[in-house]
């Protein structure tokens, strides 16, 4: 039976992190050398953690499924990273960043973690600059900032549209330095398929070498999961093809609670789906909404003609366009938060006003901005995005409005962690997008990078020492323990079952079907009926998958189909949990919109009396329904209000 | 750290030495062309012979001559080393021919270099070896009389043809030479690099055109 204890220090919010650091137990350098830590994932959180732990003197083993750590999907983040530096002197400070994050998350995150995140944010920028991250600068040589959705100050640091890439390369470089120094050992092209728990403590992992198919055992005194989000449960998402939930899911099965799984973020500005064989959605930076105006035709007949390619958007007169965000949200207009913008687009398309060949797209129009600022200025601001759009869609966005549609982008839910970022399994930590901690029910733009780096560089290295200080007398964990044997047996059995299931359909077939169920019933808006139906559909899919999947190739070789099959099987189970979570949360908040719970003018209607808690789900065995535990959220510092962007 | 730990030339050092030797050869070519241009002076070879005589007798020139041999040797030896290394670096080659855009003629520096080397060998036999007495001069021509020697050679159409072809190839070699050398020496600048590239082409045209003018004059106007 899981006990949720957030372990936040019992002092006022603003003093908590200092108090924690002052009281936290440390490990001396000669003992650090004797302690092994496994870090799974090499994105911002994982690479930052591996680099820092290595530099502190621990023996770090770092795992990634990619061929090199530098390809982790943090690399694809475009917009920027928030930090309460107040370099612009526009009234920003740590409290404001904290407040914006709590509010943006629709009051479903833990105050103590978010406050710590905000207070650490300035240090991140200092470190990244020292590492040589080429942030945008003003002519005076100092750092530039831009504004982002959900904030009234300019606190976002950026490196053109490639901030994630530059930050990741910074972390990867720091990690490379430790690899050269011998403190970090890299295991690339490995899938982590199980977490080994010995006497109630996380003691290692079982990994599959993706090149040789060999099953490997790795032991350590603590295990850190930095494996990112699970957006690929929707099949089409902006996540990388390989992004998966597998390590986190193994942790769940080994006793780690999974929190708020239904909180997913749907990003409003993605390139629409073009066809059945599409494998992946591409995000266009949110910054486009600073200058672009979003609209659909006012008349259904016009929309119909556009879908049939008998009419071009430029031909639709100004008076026949519906700038629906400006109409519905005059105060924020096109800059409403992501969840609001996404739902509004879906509402219009569902009502029959959508454009594009599928009717699932809205226009993002720059003609006004081009008239106001000139083409050169627009090209300077968004040139690379326009180029990317043109390459994919084969249409010139300077002339024809862009088409956009929401797509799954980020998952706020994840492994439940306490203030120390430890899951409910002692010695098992979760950092970055992989945990649930900081973004509540909706994440603000440019906050994911902040969280990943804060966790990896500055939080985990402190909090893990508290745990490891009790482990200094534990000798290296032998991989010959029965728990390792058992885990290896489980893994090999499951691989063998997958391989011999001998069905007819490819893995992608099942993945696509799962994605469709999730998108339709557990996507941008949800309702009881759809969710209940989804539970049944997922159960069917799960059974069909077990007997109907066809996997070519062998177990002991490079076999991408086998990799995918394992991941998709986990996604199907996760889908079930997400639907359960969405079903139980009878309120609308952030990215979770239950149609039954909305205000008269169709805005999300939160229910703080009954649902101001974190839903942490516990695995109860293969054939038993998971059990939900609550971590009540206490808002001592901020006052809960209804979000309004009107 | 050099993983091999050997004392050897690094990639960049090898290329820098090659480039420096190449630049030295570029200077030599200009001097050589200057003297050869005297062949075009219509004075029965008087000024040419005077210049040639000076070049073969003045002691300081002897030192330069040695440096010149050194330059050629360095350029050729490193050219060969780098080429061999470069072939090793891709043991399995592509099935489809490369269609990547490359700087004009840059892929054929080795090939053109070999052509120039063959020409150089002929040139040595025809002139330098005669001068130092290793090879006997043709009957009726004195060992130091380069003018008559040149006139005789250019009266042979085959020789002139070989000569012309060699210099066309040298022209292409040179077109890439100066720009590649500046790049290797790290002298790249957004403003000046285009000028250097243009100068490189101009230099190639002047050298190749200048040398080629000589057989053309002798065969066309004699």
């Amino acid at each position: 039976m899981i006990k949720l204890n957030a372990n936040s220090p019992g002092v006022p919010l603003t003093d908590q992190w200092d108090a924690y650091k002052a009281g936290c137990k440390l490990v001396s350098p000669n003992n650090k050398r004797k302690l092994d830590i496994i870090v799974v994932g090499t994105g911002l959180a994982g690479a930052a953690a591996a680099a820092t732990l290595g530099q502190l003197g621990y023996n770090v083993k770092s795992f990634c499924y990619q061929d090199t750590p530098r390809r982790a999907h943090s690399i694809a983040a475009q917009g920027g990273i928030n930090a309460a530096k107040n370099y612009q002197n526009d009234g920003d400070n740590v409290f404001r960043l904290f407040y914006d994050t709590i509010k943006g998350g629709d009051y479903r995150s833990r105050e103590s973690n978010v406050y710590r995140l905000a207070s650490i944010s300035p240090e991140i920028i200092d470190l990244c600059v020292a590492q040589g991250v080429p942030f945008a600068r003003e002519y005076g040589g100092l750092l530039a900032n831009r504004s982002f959705g959900g904030a009234q100050v300019s606190r976002t640091f950026y490196a053109r549209g490639q901030t994630g890439q530059q930050l990741l390369i910074g972390a990867y470089s720091a990690m490379s330095r430790q690899i050269a120094a011998g403190t970090v050992k890299l295991y690339s092209r490995r899938d982590v398929l199980d977490i080994v728990v010995v006497d109630g403590k996380a003691r290692g992992i079982i990994a599959r070498n993706l090149v040789t198919g060999e099953i490997e055992r790795h032991a350590a005194h603590a295990v850190v999961l930095a494996t990112g989000g699970y957006g690929n449960v929707f099949y089409l998402s902006t996540n990388a093809m390989g992004s998966n939930v597998t390590p986190a899911w193994s942790a769940w099965k080994k006793g780690a609670a999974f929190a708020n799984p239904c909180f997913t973020q749907i990003h409003p500005t993605c390139i629409p789906v073009h066809g059945e064989f599409q494998s992946k959605l591409t995000l266009m930076s949110e910054s486009l909404r600073n200058d672009g105006r979003i609209w659909v035709p006012k008349e259904k007949s016009d929309a119909e003609l556009i879908r049939q390619k008998k009419l071009r958007p430029e031909q639709i007169h100004e008076s026949k366009r519906d700038y629906y965000l400006e109409r519905r949200y005059p105060a924020f207009g096109n800059l409403v938060p992501r969840d609001v913008a996404s739902r509004a687009a879906k509402e219009r398309c569902d009502a029959g006003y959508g454009v594009g060949s599928t009717g699932l797209a809205v226009y993002l129009d720059f003609s006004d901005a081009i008239e106001r600022l000139g083409r050169a200025e627009i090209s300077a601001r968004y040139g690379n995005l326009f180029q990317m759009y043109q390459r994919i869609v084969d249409d010139n966005p300077y002339r024809t409005p862009m088409m956009i549609y929401p797509a799954v982008h980020y998952t706020m839910g994840g492994l439940w962690v306490d203030y120390e970022l430890m899951t409910t399994v002692p010695g098992l930590y979760s950092i970055g997008e992989c945990n649930f901690s900081d973004h509540g029910a909706n994440r603000l733009g440019a906050s994911a990078l902040m969280q990943g780096l804060a966790d990896g560089y500055f939080v985990l290295p402190y909090t893990i020492s508290g745990y490891l200080s009790h482990e200094i007398n534990t000798p290296p964990i032998p991989t010959t323990l029965p728990e390792f044997h058992l885990a290896v047996r489980d893994v090999t059995d499951r691989l063998a079952r997958l391989k011999k299931s001998g069905g007819k359909e490819s893995v992608d077939h099942f993945h696509r079907r799962l994605g469709k169920i999730m998108w339709e019933h557990c996507g941008m808006s949800r309702n009881e009926e759809g969710l209940t139906k989804a539970l049944g559909l997922i159960a069917e899919l799960k059974a069909e998958f077990a007997s109907g999947v066809k996997i070519s190739g062998g177990l002991k070789e490079y076999n991408p189909e086998l990799e995918k099959a394992w991941r998709v099987q986990d996604f199907i189970e996760l889908g079930d949990l997400m639907v359960r979570d969405a079903l139980h949360r009878k309120e609308s908040c952030g990215g979770h919109f239950r149609e039954e719970y909305q205000t008269p003018d169709h805005e999300a209607l939160r229910n703080d009396d009954e649902f101001a808690y974190v839903a942490a789900w516990e695995h109860k065995g293969r054939d038993t329904a998971p059990e939900m535990h609550r971590e009540e959220l206490h808002f001592d510092t901020v006052k809960l209000t209804q979000r309004s962007y009107k | 750290m050099g993983a091999t730990g050997q004392k050897t030339f690094s990639s960049i050092a090898s290329k820098v030495l090659m480039a420096l030797a190449g630049v030295f050869l570029l200077v030599f070519l200009a001097v050589h062309l200057g003297i050869n241009m005297l062949l075009l002076v219509d004075d029965g070879g008087k000024s040419f012979s005077a210049a040639a005589g000076f070049m073969s007798s003045y002691p300081v020139i002897r030192i330069f001559e040695l440096a010149l041999f050194g330059g050629f040797l360095l350029h050729i030896v490193f050219g060969v080393i780098v080429s061999i290394r470069n072939r090793w670096s891709r043991p399995i080659r592509y099935q489809h021919k490369s269609r990547s855009e490359t700087a004009p003629f840059s892929k054929y520096m080795l090939h053109s270099g070999v052509v120039v080397l063959i020409f150089l060998a002929l040139h040595f036999i025809d002139f330098y070896f005669i001068k130092i007495g290793v090879v006997a001069p043709p009957p009726g021509i004195e060992r130091h009389d380069f003018y008559s020697r040149a006139v005789l050679l250019f009266s042979d159409t085959t020789y002139s043809a070989i000569y012309l072809v060699s210099f066309v190839v040298l022209g292409f070699h040179l077109n890439h030479a100066l720009q590649a050398a500046t790049q290797t020496l790290g002298l790249n600048h957004p403003r000046y690099t285009p000028l250097i590239n243009a100068a490189s082409t101009l230099y190639a045209i002047i050298i190749a055109g200048g040398f080629m003018a000589i057989p053309l004059r002798f065969t066309l106007f004699n």
Binding site: R70 | S10, T102, Q183, T184
Partner: protein, 257 residues
């Protein structure tokens, strides 16, 4: 659309490998190149054959995982484009398309179109970083950087480590990759501190890994999906010469020049 594909198939590193022909039909011109291969793989799986293995991940042109040698060009016919961002409309209907793995002695084939590019990581480990620890660094704005330098550093840092420069180079040289990293760090005041040591160590490592030497054909620049300039190679050469000629202390292990 319809295509004939000639794809390099190789079971593992020890297999000899060969080109195999496949036909694909019913390809949307809006499909990406990798989606076209996905479609082929679905066919192969349903026929009980082994799908073609190729590296890919983000499919939005930034992770650098994908990289195929397509009709004699790394990442195919379009300039400044990764394989995943290449769409089938860039080809003629019915065209024959050769698809090969990157070729370099330092990039052994793992399977089919997948090569092992860890040599690039090894070069970075030799010095492609600024030696600072997490924490104890000065406030970010105490290190002003002239905007032009910051911009040039960014241009160099845009490298995605895909290895197309090696694949394109007639000599399989990674000098654009190495030059870009050296430039990125050398252009910033933070990076200057270690510049002398860094360039020597990285060049030495690059040489030790058996890559070829640059012969200034600039094929790398033409094929780089991030359009990184060869000016970065020149800067590396300059940094290297300055380091070797001006350094008063021998800073690398074996290499003298």
């Amino acid at each position: 659309m319809k295509f004939t594909l000639k794809i390099w198939r190789q079971k593992n590193a020890d297999d000899k490998g060969r080109l195999v022909s496949y036909m694909v039909d019913d390809i949307s011109p809006d499909s990406s190149f990798l989606e076209m291969l996905d479609q082929l793989n679905q066919q192969l799986i349903s026929r009980g054959e082994e799908p073609v293995a190729f590296d890919h991940d983000c499919r939005e042109g930034i992770c650098g995982a994908c990289g195929l040698y397509i009709n004699g060009r790394p990442h195919g016919p379009l300039k400044g484009t990764t394989t995943c961002q290449l769409h089938m409309r860039a080809f003629r209907n019915g065209e024959m398309i050769y698809i090969e793995p990157w070729r370099s002695g330092a990039f052994p084939v793992v399977r089919d179109l997948i090569v092992d590019r860890s040599a690039l990581d090894t070069i970075i480990q030799a010095g492609g970083y600024i030696s600072v620890n997490s924490g104890g660094v000065p406030d970010a704005n105490t290190i002003p950087v002239p905007k032009p330098n910051a911009d040039s550093a960014f241009d160099a840092a845009a490298c995605i480590g895909c290895g197309a420069c090696v694949a394109a180079c007639p000599n399989a040289s990674p000098m654009l990759f190495v030059g870009a990293k050296i430039s990125h760090l050398a252009l910033l005041p933070q990076g200057r501190i270690e510049a002398t040591r860094r360039v020597q160590q990285m060049v030495a490592e690059m040489d030790a890994l058996g890559f070829g030497f640059c012969s200034n054909t600039y094929a790398c620049q033409a094929e780089c999906p991030k359009e990184i300039s060869i000016a970065n190679i020149a800067r590396m050469n300059r940094e290297f010469l300055a380091a070797k000629l001006a350094a008063e202390k021998e800073q690398t292990g074996g290499f003298t020049i």
